[in-house]
């Protein structure tokens, strides 16, 4: 396959009966400060296909997309659109050429409204001004297509990251693009939203749009994609028809080796959780108007409690209130049986709580600081600025976690913003592990993390729990929650509706619980419909 880098791509991978590609990249190379990120990569997009771009964290998927759409200027290579060689100087250029892109990190204005964000730069005109009504109407239509029920007049920043992601997608599909590029669009979506998104994607495909789809969820790739291109370490590994590729084979192509353990986690060795002892953290009636109804929760030493629920169910809100990221209106928190005041993150950290937010870009990454500084931030903050971590200790701590979490590049001096999405996620995880918390709140910790690393991180969480750490685990991926959790708290409409022992619980049972509760609530009460958070 290595010869495929220079020779034309194999005929087998071409969609039968198809004419010329809409977009073709040839011999694309790009390096950052002398370090190559892409080397001699090719990509062909045909009209009416969903093309998955696959590869590990840091393989170069996002860089390829940015080089194609004019964010980066490639060092070498050609971009051919409709048979014409093009070189885009900016993202606006590529958009004008009919390429609509949703970048990996949502790049919208948090302080504008949903409608403004969707139509920014192409507002409907009304009597010489911007027609606000027309704008909102159009925004609502597009949002409905994606099954998203949010008020177009609401401010974007108040919505959870999943909604923001959907708004970004809505913005991209709203134009009649011939090429639609989606860089990890589903990383924080629930099954329902994914299904809706795929419906839209299929419609567009059938209308002849070429769609690039990046995801670390193999199931999704096999469901939606027609062809795929695999990158590894910035090089082209191959181009395949999805129908002729097995999942196992794809993983081998991506990793360059077999994946060792993707089976059930072995939690047998972990000592059983002792629920008679005082819980590490116990909350009573924790709530906040419009975010979460009064909720009780106990987490014991060595226990993993999973929060299951759909988008807007209050799972993130519960974690945020518990950590003091948002201030609670009601409720009490007990840490080791003692009343504790947890109104700010700082107070929570002093009580040895830790919270890894789902919104990596807005609430985690300090882009212009180095990887080392990002990792040590929480630890340093809790020591106070007068007591810097001694340099020797810094070096060893950072080196240890770079290795433990397999961050690439394993360079403590690299700027955080230059890391790939998945690798940033790992650094943020390390930031919290370094504080050696007693209760670790993980909100979507595997968001954007590749198949290999995901298994590693799940294993790590299981190990931490085995050593006595209490963990609250939140994920839109129910399978993952169930795999890890000793106990599952099911949430819906911003309150807890059930609590189940983990073990043999299945995804179906959880979904049934949620659905059953839905009919129940509709029969007995009317729930208030305030916007989440």
């Amino acid at each position: 396959m290595s010869q495929a880098r220079t020779e034309p791509l194999p005929e087998t991978a071409r969609r039968p009966g198809d004419a010329a590609p809409v977009v073709e990249l040839r011999g694309l190379s790009i390096a950052f400060g002398g370090v190559p990120a892409l080397h001699d990569v090719a990509l062909r997009l045909y009209p009416g296909e969903v093309h998955a771009l696959m590869g590990e964290n840091g393989a170069g998927k996002s860089t390829l997309i940015k080089a194609l759409t004019g964010v980066y200027a490639p060092d070498a290579g050609t971009v051919v659109v409709d048979g014409q060689e093009r070189s885009f100087a900016s993202p606006a250029d590529s958009q004008a050429a009919g390429i609509s892109t949703v970048y990996q990190e949502v790049n919208l204005c948090a302080n504008l409204t949903v409608a403004e964000n969707m139509l920014l730069g192409r507002e409907p005109r009304f009597l010489g001004g911007i027609g606000v009504r027309a704008m909102r109407r159009r925004a609502r239509q597009t949002l409905e297509r994606l099954g998203l029920d949010v008020d177009p007049a609401s401010v974007l920043g108040q919505h959870p990251i999943a909604v923001q992601q959907l708004v970004a997608i809505a913005r991209a599909v709203d134009v009649d693009a011939r090429v639609l590029i989606l860089d990890e669009p589903t990383s924080s979506l629930d099954a329902d939203e994914v299904a809706r998104l795929f419906e839209v994607v299929r419609t567009l495909r059938d209308q002849g749009t070429a769609i690039v789809f990046v995801s670390h969820f193999l199931d999704q790739v096999f469901e939606i994609a027609d062809r795929l291109t695999v990158l590894r370490n910035g090089r082209l590994v191959g181009e395949r028809l999805v129908s002729e590729t097995s999942q196992l084979e794809l993983v081998r192509l991506m990793l360059g080796r077999e994946l060792e353990t993707l089976d059930r986690l072995d939690r047998q060795e972990a000592p059983p959780v002792d629920r008679d002892r005082t819980p590490v953290v116990k909350v009573l009636g924790l709530g906040r108007k419009g975010a979460l109804e009064a909720t009780d929760l106990e987490v014991h030493e060595g226990e993993v409690v999973g929060l299951a629920g759909l988008l807007g169910s209050g799972r993130t809100e519960l974690a945020r209130l518990l950590f003091g990221a948002d201030a609670a209106d009601t409720g009490e928190v007990e840490v080791h049986g003692r009343r504790a005041r947890v109104r700010t993150p700082r107070q929570a950290i002093d009580r040895r709580l830790a919270f890894a937010s789902e919104d990596r870009r807005a609430e985690g990454v300090i882009g212009d600081l180095t990887v080392a500084d990002n990792m040590l931030l929480a630890l340093q903050a809790s020591r106070g600025w007068l007591r810097p971590i001694p340099p020797a200790q810094r070096t060893t701590l950072v080196a240890r976690y770079l290795e433990a979490l397999d961050v690439r590049p394993a360079d403590p001096h690299a700027l955080m913003r230059n890391l790939s999405g998945g690798n940033q996620q790992k650094v943020l995880l390390a930031r919290w592990l370094l504080t050696e918390p007693e209760l670790l709140l993980l909100d979507e910790p595997t968001r954007g993390i590749d198949v290999g690393a995901k298994a590693q991180i799940q294993q790590l969480v299981a190990e931490l729990a085995g050593r006595g750490m209490a963990v609250v685990f939140i994920s839109a991926e129910l399978e993952e929650v169930l795999r890890l959790s000793d106990r599952v708290v099911v949430m819906r409409e911003r309150r807890k509706i059930a609590e189940r022992e983990g073990g043999d619980l299945t995804v179906g049972e959880v979904l049934e619980t949620i659905a059953a509760e839905a009919t129940h609530t509709h029969l007995t009460e009317t729930t208030d419909g305030e916007a989440p958070r």
Partner: protein, 363 residues
């Protein structure tokens, strides 16, 4: 299909490549341009006046144009240092000129009103009093910004306008003149041939650099400036940090105000430190610290302050008519800022670097 598994030869970045990338970073260091600009100015002056760079070591003090520049730049350097930290937290302090005037007023009025206006002890008390006032003013600014959450530019605008009025109240609307050796010594005195003002500025620079880089203050200031929300969630006490930098800049402004008062032996509530806030902000920007907050460079600010002071000297030295002073200054400043602009630099060598690293953002 096993042939597809043959791993394409994938060289990891080799050590020389890494080193090259570090060299590249050094070359792109923000300090390069301000230093070049300063050197250029000095060169222009040397062409006009060949003796410009000569420092006379023979007398009881160093003398020469360079020494004067260093001495005259001292107040600006002091305020610039404080301003750098404030700007790094995404803030700005417009009130430094007014605070400098207040410091001068408080010190001079105290000296003038004391039984022994010429004594060193009087000066020490007066200066301490003045600096204490500055701490209070810094606390006020910090309170408005970090506790009440008022936009820094508005919050400090309050003191910028009200501060000169306060200084007038202190001086009772008069220009208070004093004769005190210690106070004037701060501005025009010498220790071991070196101007005291320069020594004070160097000491504050050294202390600030030490505190900022040897403790974790610098890193936390940058973190708060780059991403306040992420810093808050990581447990950074941003309120304390923001408060600290506003008090620090007020202290720096106070010291500068004392120097200015010592230089003229008078407290002029209306004109002491007038527009120095703009020069300080300019010095910070020329030094490569972004007004958007985040990464900062103390050394850059010092170079920036020297540049601005040298520019003023150059204008007289070249015999440029004083009416065109400001135009000339504006042109020089625009030139420096242009060179630093990422867009311009990018346009100069587009094929070599990513087009829009900033817009590209994370991942």
């Amino acid at each position: 299909m096993t042939d597809t598994l043959t791993p394409p030869d994938l060289p990891e970045a080799t050590e020389p490549e890494r080193r090259a990338s570090r060299l590249e970073t050094a070359r792109r260091s923000p300090l390069v341009w301000p230093v070049l600009a300063l050197v250029l100015l000095l060169a222009v002056n040397t062409v006009a006046t060949p003796t410009f760079l000569l420092v006379d070591l023979s007398g009881d003090r160093l003398s020469g144009p360079l020494v004067n520049i260093a001495r005259n730049a001292a107040p600006l350097v002091l305020i610039g240092l404080g301003m750098t930290l404030v700007i790094a937290t995404r803030g700005i302090d417009l009130s430094v000129g007014a605070v400098a005037a207040i410091a001068g007023a408080v010190a001079c009025v105290h000296i003038a009103g004391s039984p022994d206006p010429g004594a060193a002890s009087t000066a020490v008390v007066a200066m301490s009093l003045a600096l204490a006032c500055c701490v209070a003013l810094g606390l006020w600014n910090g309170f408005l910004v970090s506790v009440l959450g008022i936009q820094p530019i508005i919050a400090t605008l309050v003191l910028m306008t009200a501060g000169r009025g306060l200084a007038m109240l202190v001086t009772d609307g008069q220009i208070t003149t004093v004769t005190n050796g210690v106070l004037s010594g701060l501005a025009v005195g010498h220790v071991a041939k070196v101007p005291v003002a320069v020594l004070v500025a160097l000491a504050v620079l050294g202390l600030t650099a030490f505190v900022v880089r040897r403790t974790a203050l610098g890193m936390l200031v940058e973190a708060v400036g780059i991403n306040p929300e992420a810093s808050r969630l990581a447990g950074v006490r941003s309120r304390t940090i923001i408060w600290t930098v506003y008090v620090f800049v007020a202290l720096c402004a106070g010291l500068a105000g004392l120097m200015i008062a010592g230089n003229t032996n008078a407290a002029d509530a209306n004109n002491a430190g007038l527009w120095i806030e703009l020069d300080a902000i300019l010095a910070v920007v020329i030094g490569g610290t972004s007004l958007a907050g985040g990464r900062f460079s103390l050394a850059g600010t010092v170079v920036g302050a020297l540049f601005i002071t040298t520019l003023a000297v150059t204008i007289t030295n070249l015999g440029i008519p004083s009416q065109t002073n400001y135009v000339f200054k504006a042109i020089a400043v625009i030139a420096v800022c242009l060179i630093q602009s990422p867009q311009v630099r990018h346009a100069l060598r587009r094929r070599r670097t990513p087009a829009r690293t900033v817009a590209g953002g994370a991942a």
